[in-house]
């Protein structure tokens, strides 16, 4: 399912019905749409517009809100000259890219196994739910479970590695570190890749696979030329999900990274909660959204390219 095709399918009404359905139908549609969009306007649009506005307003100490409504570009110029900010932004971006690629590489075999190798629908559903269950629990709790019992200097993983003699002393980098955050992101988000992949792979036309084999294609060639192209929509949706969610991550990075790892979320937080620098926090939030839009755009381009080839 590509995002733009979904609404089309849901109202594929013949033209003549459309004509008959006059004014009353339009009114009914308006009635159905109003509550939802009113909510979106109040709790999504207004806050987003406001972040953009505040990012152009002036920081002022002593005012209750922390800013005055004088227009300025100062917040952005400050950020552009702040190399720590850019390093953190880059590191966040790398974390998200790594998470997307790793989730794809490690998640694909899982989705492929569930969709193509498990024959009985009953087992398929059962195994899928088993894989999906941890997604329903709190990411914060899963981060705690990841950080303290497992990773860390004293964590189970380090103890096992030391006992087996693979390392001489506990690996520091498993503690509050960028490495731990990146590994955790795969652990936390891989299901966002597996789920869409599972659904597209389950719909792969089995007769096309047989046809490919009958025409003499070997396993690998069938996989590359029949399975992969059909899996692409799933890859794109999963990538967008993971890129966006990991890039905007806040709470889990704070738990897993301790105070040593920054994400864009924690940067915004440090400006807002510690410095009460709302305008600068807002400006860095706007840049985050810009980065998200560029990233999502790049991912969708990639898929179109693939389809054209």
């Amino acid at each position: 399912m590509s995002s733009s095709s979904v609404p089309e399918q849901s109202h594929g009404q013949p033209a003549e019905v459309e004509k008959k359905s006059g004014f009353l139908d339009k009114l009914v549609t308006l009635g159905w749409a109003t509550p939802g969009f009113a909510w979106l306007a109040l709790y999504l649009i207004a806050p987003l517009v406001f972040i953009v506005l505040v990012s152009f307003w002036t920081y002022e100490q002593g005012v209750r809100s922390g800013f005055t409504t004088d227009w300025t570009l100062q917040n952005y110029t400050d950020l552009f000259n702040d190399s720590t900010y850019w390093n953190n932004m880059l590191s966040s971006f790398m974390t998200s890219v790594i998470a997307v690629v790793a989730c794809l590489v490690f998640g694909f075999p899982v989705a492929y196994f569930l969709a193509m190798k498990v024959q009985s629908l009953k087992y398929q559903i059962a195994l899928f739910i088993l894989a999906l269950a941890p997604f329903w629990t709190s990411f914060l709790t899963r981060s705690i479970a990841w950080t303290y019992p497992l990773m860390g200097r004293e964590g189970a993983l380090n103890q096992v590695l030391t006992k087996l003699g693979i390392v001489d002393e506990p690996v520091q980098a498993l503690g509050f570190s960028t490495l731990s955050v990146r590994l955790a992101m795969v652990q936390l988000y891989i299901l966002f890749m597996i789920t869409p992949l599972f659904f597209v792979l389950a719909q792969v036309d089995r007769s096309a696979l047989e046809a490919a084999r009958d025409l003499g294609a070997n396993g690998w060639k069938t996989f590359r030329e029949v399975v992969i192209p059909q899996a692409m929509p799933g890859v794109v949706i999963g990538s967008i999900f993971i890129f966006v969610l990991t890039m905007g991550e806040y709470g889990t990075v704070r738990v897993i990274g301790g105070n040593t790892v920054s994400s864009v979320g924690t940067i915004v937080q440090s400006k807002v909660e510690i410095g009460i620098q709302y305008p600068q926090g807002a400006a860095s939030a706007v840049l985050l959204v810009a980065a998200l839009i560029v990233g999502v755009f790049a991912i969708t381009r990639f898929s179109n390219l693939r389809e054209e080839i």
């Binding site: 849901s10 549609t29 969009f37 999504l44 303290y148 964590g155 652990q187 396993g219 704070r254």
Partner: protein, 312 residues
């Protein structure tokens, strides 16, 4: 893909993938299991291995018993109650809004493409950022933020796109001709909606509720900036508070394990209910058909397309 099934050759790729799948399960479950095990330590237990016995429920007891020194039972209980109510409310509002939005999307309307992307924007906006924007907006219009006024709102925003996508999937499989038939038989708009449409799509509405409920039950980023004070903490905020401020003890593990088990039990329970209900309803369907047309001998599978059917 090795040879066709039943050719006698073993499908090695299947075996390899099955082993990989097991490793994958270990990878995603290991932290949670380790946490659960460590929550069962004795009173000298620490937050890492080795396990310090004896095996006991002492740390679990501190979650519920205020009289144990160092227990946060009271705060945890209040946060949990708060979390249950806010999650139910968020689930209900999510279900209503996602359903009504999806009803609007059943026919084309002007700017429906933009409207669709607007709903997807709710999915894309990082939670912490949304909370920040909400905080700025409400302070500018001189309103206090609070759990019920603002955090509820931002949590529903997170639930809406999930519920909406669930509903779209339901409408995709929905057979519009049932509604036409009802109208041809003289039912008016309201009655058709009440007696034909709703009963057919309620599982989707319930799914939306579930999304709204669990996303809110687990939310941290969207709630953090928007509560008015310590007395309106939710459970995730309470858990985070225990993690960030106090020295961590195994009772945090007990709390984490408890909320995890609760989530999983709720999901499994609901899955079982839905499965049972579908089975029940399918049986009912055949009966009704048989009442009207006599015994059904062969069933045209295509005629069932669009209605929910239990996997054979």
């Amino acid at each position: 893909m090795q040879g066709p099934a039943g050719s006698g050759r073993r499908d090695w790729s299947k075996i390899v993938l099955a082993v990989y799948f097991c490793l994958f399960l270990v990878f995603i479950y290991a932290p949670l299991i380790l946490m659960g095990v460590l929550s069962l330590q004795g009173e000298f237990g620490s937050i890492t291995f080795p396990f310090k016995g004896p095996l006991s429920l002492d740390w679990w007891r501190t979650l519920f018993d205020e009289s144990i020194p160092g227990s946060n039972a009271r705060a945890i209980r209040e946060a949990a109650v708060q979390s249950v109510w806010i999650s139910i409310a968020a689930g209900a509002i999510t279900a209503l809004l996602a359903f009504s939005l999806s009803m609007a999307f059943r026919r084309r309307f002007r700017l429906d493409g933009v409207a669709f992307y607007l709903i997807m924007l709710a999915l894309m906006t990082p939670g912490y950022l949304l909370a920040l924007g909400t905080q700025l907006f409400w302070s500018y219009i001189d309103q206090e933020t609070s759990l019920w006024k603002t955090a509820l709102g931002t949590n529903v925003i997170w639930g809406i796109p999930f519920g909406f996508l669930v509903m779209l999937a339901v409408w995709n499989r929905y057979d519009e001709s049932v509604e036409e038939a009802a109208r041809d038989l003289g039912a008016n708009r309201a009655r058709t909606f009440r007696e034909v449409t709703l009963p057919l799509v309620w599982t989707g509405i319930f799914g939306s509720f579930l999304f709204g409920f669990t996303l809110t039950w687990n939310d941290y980023d969207r709630t953090l900036l928007l509560i008015s004070g310590i007395e309106t903490q939710t459970l995730p905020l309470q858990i985070a508070g225990l993690t960030f401020t106090a020295a961590i003890r195994p009772d945090l593990y007990a709390l984490g394990t408890a909320t995890t088990l609760l989530s999983i039990v709720v999901i499994l329970g609901i899955l079982v209910l839905v499965t049972l209900r579908l089975r029940f309803r399918d049986a009912g369907k055949v009966e009704r058909v048989e009442e009207e047309f006599g015994e059904v001998e062969s069933f045209d599978i295509d005629s069932l397309e669009g209605t929910e059917t239990r996997p054979a």
